[in-house]
C-alpha cells in the first residue's frame, strides 16, 4: 500500500519526519497558488488522486 512519504508532494518536517505537509500547485480559473495540508508520513495514499511516486 503506498503511503504519503513515498509521494513527491510530501515534505517531511525536519524535527519530526513522521509528519509533514502535502504541498501541491493549483491553477484555478482565477489564480495560481501553492497549497499545503498536514499529513502523516505513513498515511495510506492508495485512494489519493494526487499521489505521484517519488
Amino acid at each position: 500500500m503506498p503511503t504519503c512519504k513515498e509521494c513527491i508532494h510530501f515534505f517531511p518536517r525536519e524535527e519530526n519526519p513522521e509528519t509533514g505537509d502535502c504541498v501541491q500547485r493549483v491553477v484555478d480559473p482565477r489564480q495560481a497558488y501553492h497549497k499545503a495540508r498536514p499529513v502523516g508520513a505513513e498515511k495510506d495514499a492508495a485512494e489519493c488522486a494526487s499521489f505521484e511516486k517519488k
Binding site: 505537509d21 489564480q31 497558488y33 501553492h34 497549497k35 499545503a36
Partner: protein, 837 residues
Amino acid sequence: MAEPATLEDKKEKKIKAHEEKQEWWWIAEKRRSRRLDYLRKAVWKKGALGGNYAPGIKLDLEGPTLFTDMWKRNHTDPIMLRRAKALAHLLDNIPIFITDKAQLVGYMGSLPHTLAWRVDGASIVNEEAYNEPGIHEEPEAESLKTVAELNAYWAGQTAIDKVARILDPEDAVKFLSGAIGWGAPTSAYGYSAKNYEYFMTGERAFEDIIDEIDANIEKAEEKTIGTPGPDILPLYDRIHNWEAMKIVLEAGIRYANRYARLARIVAESFESDPKRKEELLRLAETCERVPAKTPRNLQESLQYDFFVQIISRHEAHEGAWPSRPDYYHGPYYDKDVNIEKNITREEALDLIGEFMIRTYEVGGFGPRWAREGLQGITGTWVWTIGGVKPDGSDACNDMTIALMHAARLVRVANPTLSFRWHPKVSDEVMREIFECNRQGLGYPNLRNDPILVANAMHWHGHPIEEARLWMNQACLSPCPPTKHGQQPMRMASATANCAKIVEYALHNGYDHVVSMQMGPKTGDARKFTDFEQLFEAWVKQMEWIFNTLVRTVNLGRFKDPEFFGRPFLSAISERSVESGLDIVSPVGDRGNSWITAFTFVENIDSLAAVKKLVFDDRKYTMDQLITALEANWEGYEEMRLDFVKGAPKWGNDEDYVDDIMLRCLRECARHSKVIKDPSGNNWPILPENVSGNIHYANIVNALPNGRRLGDALYDGGISPGPGLDKKGPTAVLKSCAKIDHVTHGRAFLLNQRLSPTQLAGEKGYQLWKAYVKTWADLGIDHIQFNVVSDETLYAAQRDPEKYSEVIVRVAGYSAHFVDISRKTQDNIIQRTVQGLG
C-alpha cells in the same frame, strides 16, 4: 522628423482618453503594478450578486469539520477551553495556500474559492447552507452528506439555539420574524471592535501576552491553594479562561509558522525565479516573526494585523472590520519608506494594495436576509483614517495618503475608507480624498471629528483621550480601541426596521404583511382626530420596537460567555488578559451600544403628509387614508401622488417637516437614556441602512409618504428620498444641520450624489472643498458621495460585463454596481444628482 512615441507616451495617451470617458477602472489597470494587477484579478468575489453567490464559490467544509471533530472530543471542558482547543486544532490542520506574487498570507476558509461557514452560530443558518444551490463542492452528494452530518450534530447546540430557548417566547418570535429587526444576538455573528491600543502599538505581541497570562495564572494558582474564602472561588474558572487564551495564542503562532514553512518549501522546491525566491524567503521570515513578536517593518506590521483578523474570523463570523490602518501602520511606513529607505514608495504601495485585496477576498457564508441587506459584499469593512491623536493634533501621515492612492489602484468595493475630518487637515490630504471620490470609489466618506468626539463623550462617557482614538466599529459608529472602550460584540444587532413604527401606529400595532399583532394596540387610527394622537401612538410603537430588540440583544450579550466563548478575542484584549474573564462579559466594558435605525426618514415624511393633508388641510380623512393604505394604493394613484407632492418632504430646508424630524429624534434620544445595555450605558440610535432599504421593500407596507409594498425604501440615514430633495444640496445640508449631531443620536448617514462632469479639474476641487466646508461648519457628522453619471449606470445595466468594475456607494458601504439587484440599481440611479456652487 518627429520622435516616435514611446510606449510610455502611448500609455499616457490611452489613460487620457479613459479619463475623458470617466473609465477609472481602465486607468487603474494601466497604472498599477503587475503584481497588484494579478492579485486584483485573482480574487474570488465572495459578495452575493443580488443575493446569490457567484459561480465557482463553494462552501468550505474543512474548517467546520476540523472544528467539530475536536469540539466533540472535549465535551467535558468549560466552553472557553473547549472552543480554544477546537480553534487550535483548526489552525493546526486547515489547508493553507500562498497565491503567486503574494507578499501577505492568511485566509478565512481553506482555499481561495471557499466560503467560510460558522457551523456553531445558528441552526437556521446551517439549514440555509444545506439548501443553498450551487455552493457545494463536487461530488455534491458527498458534500451534502457532510453538511447534513454537521447540521445534525449542531442542531439545538448553536449559540442562537441556546439564546432562543431562554428568551421570552414572544420576544423570540418577534425578533426572529424578520419584520422589525435585523441581526443575531450572539458574538458568533456580528462583529467585534479590537483593543488595538493593547496589541498593535509595538509594545507587545503574542509571546509577550503569553508571558502576561502565565504570570496571572501563577498568581491565581498560588491563591487557589492558599487560604480558602469567597475571593478565590472565581479564580478557578478564570484559570481555565487564561489557559484557553494561551492555547489560541500558541496556535496562532504555529499557524503563522505553517505559512513560513510553506513559503520556504515553495522557494526551495518549486520556484525558479530568483526574485520571487527572495520574496518567498522574506515572507517566511515575516511569518516567523509575527504574530509571535512585534513587527519591525511595514510588511510585518500589515501581516501581524492580518493574522489577527484571520484568526478572529476562524473564531467567529466577524461581519465588520474596525481598523485604523494609517494610525497603527503609519510609523512602520515612515520608517521603511522615509527614514531607513528600506523600500520605495511603489514597493510600499504594492504591500498596501495587497493588504486591501487580501481583505476584499475574505468572506463567510451568510443567510439570505443578511446577503440582501449587504448586497455585493460579505460585511462592512470600513477602515478609519485621518483624525487626531489623543492630544488633539493631526494624525494624518504618509500612510493616510498611500492608502488612498492604493485604493485608486486596486479599486476594491471592500474595504472602504472613512476619513475623520478636522479643521487642521492639509490640502494635500483633502485633494486625495477628492480624487478618490471623483474617480467613483464612493469613499472615503467624511466624518466630522470634533462632533463625533463630543458625541462619544456625551452618549457613553468615553474620556476625551480615548474618544479621540475612535474608529468605525462597522459602517458608522465610533468606538475607542481601548481597554474599557472596546466593544466585543455587535450590540447593534438591535437593528430596527423603523418604518414599522409609523406602520404600526397607523394599524393599531398590527402587521398586515406578516399577519400578526406585533406592536402594542395604540388605537384605531381611523378614529384619530388630531395629529398628537398619531404622534403619541408613534412614540409608543417606537419604545416597544426598541425595547424588544434591546432586551434580546442584552440577553444574548449577557449569556454569550456561557453560550459561545471567545478565547482568541479575549487573548488580545487587555481587560480579559488582566481579569481572566471572557471579553464578551460586560464586566469592565464601559458600553458603546447603539440601535442601527434602518428606514427612519419614512416616518418623518409619512407623519408630515398625514399632518398636512388630513389634520391641517382636511383634504382627506384618516378613514380614507387607512383604506387606501390597506389597498396598497391600488386604485388610489391620484391620492397617492397628492401624499407625495402635496406635503413637504425632508431634505428641503422646510421647518414643517424638519420639525417633525427633530421631534421624533428627541423622543428617540429620550428613550435611548431609559433603555440600558448590560454595562448600564445608553442605547442611542444611528440612522443608516446598508441595503436594508431593498431587503425590507417587501416587508414594509404602504405608507403615507406614498410608498407601496414592494418599493425600495429610502437609501437611509437622514438622506432624503430619491428625487424628493428638490431645492439643491445646501437645502439638504440645512435640513440635516437642524439635527443636533451630538445629542440626538450616535451618528447620521447622509448620501449625496454629485456630477462627475462638474467635479472635473481644479474648479471641481474648489467647488467640492467649499461644499465640504459648509458641511463641516454646519456641524453635520457624516457625508458620502456617489460620483457617477446616469449614462454610465444605464450602460452598466445593459452591458454588465463591460462595466463590471463600476463601484457605487450603496449606503454605509460600497459595492460593484453589477453585483447589486436591479431594484437596488434603479434606486441608486434615482438619487438626486446635486449641483454644487
